[in-house]
């Protein structure tokens, strides 16, 4: 069979074969995936920040119509300041404790906001206020972006961790990137900690 190929063709096959082997043991995979997880993580932080930035305006608008919902409003403000004031250590992606704290503070803000949006249902004037409607759609959009950013982060970390823990990536990392560590990923679903209760 081989004999039917010209020597030229065989040369090409040989080159291709070695090229495949070279690519297969992709020595750049670990740093490349590492960069991907960092980029995905920045996007997560970016979207959480965006949500935090919406809160003061939202609280102010709701307070204008529903001042008696002080408790719910205060809870949102407090959750926001807790989430934004948390110092993120530089190694947060490899630090399970810090990562868990970060998740919890953000989930608390998400929960407080969800409760606020439930309370708002009682105020028809507020619900038809243009400013509120605009803020509400921005908040919905941001929550949705957070979901997407979190999922993208989870996928990139999965890829990175898999590369680190499976052969041949494991060997490559062992020799070339001894500092590479498995990264943390999200496990608590956003807002799942405390579902808002509807009271009539």
């Amino acid at each position: 069979m081989i004999r039917t190929f010209s020597p030229r063709a065989r040369q090409i096959f040989l080159i291709l074969f070695f090229a495949m082997g070279l690519v297969a043991c992709d020595i750049n995979a670990v740093p490349r995936y590492d960069e991907e997880t960092r980029a995905a993580w920045s996007e997560v932080l970016n979207q959480y920040q965006r949500r935090a930035d919406l809160v003061p305006n939202l609280v102010e608008t709701v307070a204008g119509f529903a001042r008696q919902e002080k408790e719910t409003l205060t809870a949102v403000v407090e959750a926001r300041s807790k989430a934004t004031q948390m110092q993120l250590p530089p190694d947060i992606l490899n630090n399970p404790e810090a990562f868990r704290q970060f998740q919890q503070s953000q989930a608390a803000l998400g929960g407080a906001l969800a409760r606020l949006l439930v309370v708002v249902e009682k105020y028809p004037d507020l619900k038809s206020n243009q400013n509120f409607l605009s803020l509400q759609s921005q908040l919905e959009g941001t929550e949705n972006r957070i979901t997407v950013a979190r999922r993208d982060y989870i996928l990139t970390v999965q890829k990175y961790n898999t590369e680190l823990r499976t052969i041949p990536g494991r060997w490559v990392a062992g020799v070339l990137y001894p500092d590479a560590e498995v990264k943390q990923t999200f496990d608590i679903a956003e807002q799942a900690k405390e579902a808002p209760k509807v009271k009539f």
Binding site: I15, L16, A24, D26, Q138
Partner: protein, 252 residues
């Protein structure tokens, strides 16, 4: 001793061979599928009417607008109706669909999708990263509430989709939502049977491709688009844009 060395030598070669084989298998098999994706309809044109809500003339009229719009601005808007959302929330379905089709210019992510799911009675405007500043969540929502839902509530899908499309195009700075001139986009990929370049050049090309584009380009990555561009034969295709969950949804 000599025999031991000889045997060890053979074994070492065997190990190397196996390692190389493993590597090759690893490369060809690629990464395992990381997440279940819904099954998307085929991107057969700028209007994909899987749920059969639009009569042919309306479909052509909207397609005309969308083609004109892309010609004027390089941006892509696609109108999609689906039979069902396969159990996914519409927000989830929407951005995955946008990514799977790659609507919008690559790197600029200037794509948007109007997604209608009559079975779930849900509609969504999905906005690519690059258009989020113009077609904001608030504007998307206003379009859904004012232009789309009133007609949908009356069961008039046609009118809702026409109005919604025109309003989205307007929000993106294109006012020409009137039946435009006929469009023809001749695109023929000439496959010329060329002489192969000499071996050293081939080696250089192969190495370049490997190091420039990485493994995914050579063996076909998860997102499919390799070095050889995104254009398919003749028809319409996405430019490779991405989506991050911007936009708004509505229910009726």
């Amino acid at each position: 001793m000599a025999r031991f060395i000889r045997e060890w030598g053979t074994a070492a070669w065997a190990i190397r061979g196996v390692a190389l084989l493993l590597c090759a298998i690893h490369a060809v098999a690629g990464q395992p599928a990381l997440a279940a994706e819904p099954k998307f309809p085929q991107l057969a044109g700028r209007v994909v009417d899987e749920a059969a809500l639009l009569p042919a003339p309306v479909r052509e009229r909207i397609t005309g607008w969308l083609a004109e719009f892309e010609r004027a601005s390089k941006r892509q808007l696609v109108v999609v109706t689906v039979k069902d959302l396969q159990g996914y929330p519409i927000e989830d379905f929407g951005y995955r669909l946008g990514r799977a089709w790659g609507i919008g210019e690559k790197d600029k992510n200037t794509g948007a999708i109007l997604l209608v799911a009559p079975k779930e009675r849900e509609v969504r405007i999905e906005v690519g990263y690059g258009l989020e500043g113009e077609l904001t969540d608030a504007i998307s929502r206003a379009i859904i509430e004012k232009d789309i839902l009133p007609a949908f509530k009356d069961g008039n899908y046609e009118q809702g989709i026409i109005n919604g499309t025109a309003a989205i195009l307007k929000a993106l700075g294109w006012d020409g939502a009137t039946p435009g001139a006929t469009i023809n986009a001749p695109e023929s990929a000439q496959e010329s049977a060329q002489e192969l370049p000499p071996i050293p050049v081939l080696i250089l090309i192969i190495l370049f491709v490997i190091f420039r584009f990485g493994r995914n380009a050579v063996f076909g990555g998860r997102h499919g688009r390799g070095v050889w561009g995104a254009r398919s034969r003749g028809g319409f295709s996405g430019g490779g844009g991405s989506f991050g969950g911007g936009g708004a949804s509505g229910r009726w």
